[in-house]
Symmetry: C2
Subunit: 355 residues, 2 copies
């Protein structure tokens, strides 16, 4: 899922996202609650209409943003008090309010409000944090049951017709028994899908892989399993092998704006002097709009000149690169050839992500 934090995938139109083959977009409860306000979006007809995207939308609950962006946050049993990163105004997000916001936005998939356990956290902290997340998950489920169906009609392309789906989020820090406890408690509540949260928060890769490999198989195979915030495609391969179905990450879009481009020949920093007179296309094996039309010399020039077209062309290419990777992976899985695919892709991914 490409990320459209503020009701737009940065630099892109919905039509371009559709052409690139994007399916679900992710948007953000925390950001849209603060600006322009979920009431505004609801009045204008819901998030799909507001941003002109008629495909499915998943809204993150704001749990992660409250912990990463907001200032002076105080975690209470009821919810989280914090100050806006935009204007310093004081807010109090509760599980009930988070569900109200997501209902007003009319997303196809809502996420429960969770505490994203930081790293490192000792076992006592992780356990208390997990208990809070479980309690909030219950309250989110209850709040949704009491919701009248969200007034803005959900997209027909959505997963559940007119009913908003709700995913639980497994926490538990880096402790296997806590991850297990979290997963079991959520499964008992019967969510529409399950996410792994609190990973890629600073821990070593091996530890992250251990948690993914241990936890994923506990989650119901018949429901979507979603690894939150992971985008490094090497990590994606590991997670898919473990059974993960869904991902989101700002990596393709954010890197694009910084001039870092993923290609079949490895990662490229387009600002480098060596591309100044390079009339070749960015990636000779890529058929995206950018690679079909422009030279590396042009891409370097517009990047150096801080032109908006640079962010557009780079974003188109990086999103194409990621979505194409996922399409090929899905095909390989369908053909029972995932292991081959993984082995074939690994050298290219090492050049793109770990050089």
């Amino acid at each position: 899922m490409p990320v459209g934090t503020n009701a737009t995938v940065k630099a892109m139109t919905p039509g371009e996202m559709k052409e690139l083959g994007a399916d679900v977009l992710l948007s953000n409860t925390y950001h849209l609650y603060l600006r322009p306000g979920h009431d505004v979006i609801s009045e204008v007809g819901g998030l799909h209409k507001f941003m002109q995207w008629d495909g499915p939308i998943l809204t993150d609950s704001g749990g992660f943003q409250v912990f990463s962006l907001a200032k002076l946050r105080k975690i209470k049993d009821d919810g989280v008090e914090f100050r806006s990163h935009i204007d310093g105004s004081l807010h109090f997000l509760t599980p009930e309010l988070v569900m109200e916001i997501q209902g007003a936005l009319g997303s196809d998939i809502a996420m429960v409000f969770d505490e994203c356990t930081p790293y490192p956290a000792d076992k006592e902290y992780a356990l208390n944090s997990l208990k809070l997340t479980t309690a909030w998950a219950k309250r989110c489920k209850e709040a949704m049951r009491n919701n009248t169906p969200p007034s803005p009609p959900l997209t027909k392309g959505g997963m559940g017709g007119v009913t908003q789906n709700l995913f639980g989020i497994v926490q538990g820090g880096m402790f296997k028994d806590l991850r297990k406890q979290s997963a079991q408690e959520l499964i008992e509540m019967d969510f529409d899908g399950y996410a792994l949260g609190g990973l890629s928060v600073g821990e070593p890769k091996e530890l992250m892989y251990e948690m993914i490999n241990y936890t994923t198989p506990m989650l119901p195979r018949g429901k979507p399993r979603y690894l939150m915030g992971i985008g490094d495609l090497m990590d994606v391969l590991e997670a898919v092998a473990a059974g993960i179905d869904m991902f989101d990450c700002v990596m393709p879009t954010r890197n694009a704006r910084n001039g870092t481009l993923f290609t079949s020949q490895g990662r490229i920093s387009i600002k480098r002097e060596e591309y100044k007179r390079d009339s070749g296309s960015l990636d000779p094996y890529c058929r995206c709009y950018t690679c079909s039309n422009y030279s590396r010399a042009y891409l370097r020039h517009v990047f150096m000149s801080k032109e908006i077209i640079s962010m557009r062309l780079n974003t188109i290419h990086n999103i194409h690169f990621f979505l194409e990777f996922f399409r090929k992976m899905q095909e390989a899985i369908g053909n029972g050839e995932f292991s081959n695919f993984r082995n074939e892709q690994t050298p290219m991914l090492q050049d793109n992500f770990h050089k």
Copy 2:
């Protein structure tokens, strides 16, 4: 002519410009000489290929930019010494070099290197400045004659097939007799078109109109007459009445990025609080992509959030507004109804440009 200073109309793709009905684009000798360098663009196949625009391109000579942007400039008989506004590096532009640059870029219309006479300038300054511009115009013409045809093929959509066109620029400050002298000297040299320069540089509107109305009729009717850097559509109407055929201005694009939008109902600053919950389209009488899809509430939200899509949607609308105005004006002229058109449009233009 929409302005594409750095080989891109800011925020737009060439395909979008074509769809909006743009005909000639303007690009800039000074900027492209400094970055990425005309040699780079020439090596990659010329400006059309570099920026992927297959319609006609007019390149400004850099005269105006040397006087408005560059630092520490010294005007000599031979040319102008200046320091780059980008990195402070020292450069010396001569008429011959300016023609070499424009030849390397392969634009369809090149402009002579001129001194843009500042305002106010006394008569002695204006006369000397005019003499310099005339002398440089001669040298540009000579340099072009000695040019081998530019290696990058010119666009088929261009005005002159494979031959680059060269326009002279009338200077003379705010003195009618000097304007006349400048026009006559240029006409004797027989250029492919004639431009009025050194206007809208700080003088009162009445004085500008006086110069336009006095000078334009002296220029050959059978050749394009181009008023440089004017974009206020009230001024355009005055100039068209005097006989001007061509305009360029950053007004639609620059204003778009600042959130100022031109509409059939007058000018709008999209950041205003009153649009926060406004589900209406920006301009109910406009059929551009922006007005066909988005609410004012969304346009305000993405502007306030500093999203790139804001600059894109605003630019699309403003360019559409300007080009639509020109299309309607051309139609009115064709039907012999320019005076009616002018009277009808004036109230709307007053709301857009002078409130």
